[in-house]
Symmetry: C2
Subunit: 232 residues, 2 copies
Amino acid sequence: MNPDLSAAVDRCPVLSRIGLIGRSKLVPHARIVEYERGRTLYSHEMPADRCFVILTGWVKLYRVRHSGDEAVIRMQRQGETLGVDEGMRNGRYRHHASAVSPSKVLVFPAQIMRETLEADPEFGKALLHHLFDVNDQLYDQIEALKSRKAIERLANFLQTHARTRKGKTFVTLPYDKTTLAAYLGMQPESLSRALAQLSEYGVRVTRDRMEITDINALLALTHYGKDGVGVT
Amino acid sequence: MNPDLSAAVDRCPVLSRIGLIGRSKLVPHARIVEYERGRTLYSHEMPADRCFVILTGWVKLYRVRHSGDEAVIRMQRQGETLGVDEGMRNGRYRHHASAVSPSKVLVFPAQIMRETLEADPEFGKALLHHLFDVNDQLYDQIEALKSRKAIERLANFLQTHARTRKGKTFVTLPYDKTTLAAYLGMQPESLSRALAQLSEYGVRVTRDRMEITDINALLALTHYGKDGVGVT
């Protein structure tokens, strides 16, 4: 087997749970595809003939309203899937998906995914647990949208994406601020205001990088530790 | 088999898809339980030892913040499940669930659900398709929360719950307006404003009943037919 493919499968939460039967059926049909920033993986209403697993990069899942506004539903990243719900049902894609950063993606024919489900119950269980995890995130996102203020949703986003290197904790924004505002369910000007307010909580913003100098202040702002909920 | 139980299983979208093996394993362990309005089915963080299917009535899924505010995540009704994600993972409930109207519920021990999954691949597939459907609704709810105004979300809710009898189309509110406002992600005063605005679109409100005199006006307001998205 292509060693790149094999390593990619091992790193993916859903694929790594599949048994040997499922793996040997799926992997020969996988391809690795690279998408430049802005490229479309699939469009709303297209027949869902392929399923995707993100290896690197970010892909946004969105719909376009008549006004031309985008509703950004999710931002998917490494290890996450796209088009599986629709592909497994042999339906049509329910959203648009396009790369918001250069992305490397594992692509499977949806038909092979369906055949694997029939051939290997372990694959069904792996998918089931994957969907439980996705549901957790969707429920948390709904809670955040309903009950949290803009600044709290932004603070949650920063906590979720923070990385620590050389003693500094920071978030490098993987995509532009307009997309981030749409994803967090706020206007771009509300995002700017929320970013400015966060300076009181020790967040320093320079272009696409935000440094968190006081993680406890940020945690206190969102009660993250106590409510146990984050926008993901 | 208890004929009430058997009929209940037939009416439930997820249970009716299960094969005979799964059914014969699950059904003997099912109980029908009635909950008065306001009664709790389970609480956040409790061990998820039971899974539920609603036969009649409405159950709200919510979290409570430190401030005491409730974040109403979903309103579940006939045929919908509760506690399955957590029960199948042998985890803890991720939300509170309580009846907002008198409700009749089918209750299964979570352990039997897990054993059935091991014994019958058909049960796994039925659960998988159930989760795909739940995901569709969650994605649509997220889109509505991010991109639709309060009045549009309310109009969508009315379309989804409208019933026609004797030539009249109406929605009988199955729970109080405070709960509805929380579910739609708005303050009670925003709900009152949105209800008042809807009179321009042919909606007449009398206590807990809303009559829709012009469904096309309501459809035009939400672009429901074109965008194909509703809050459910």
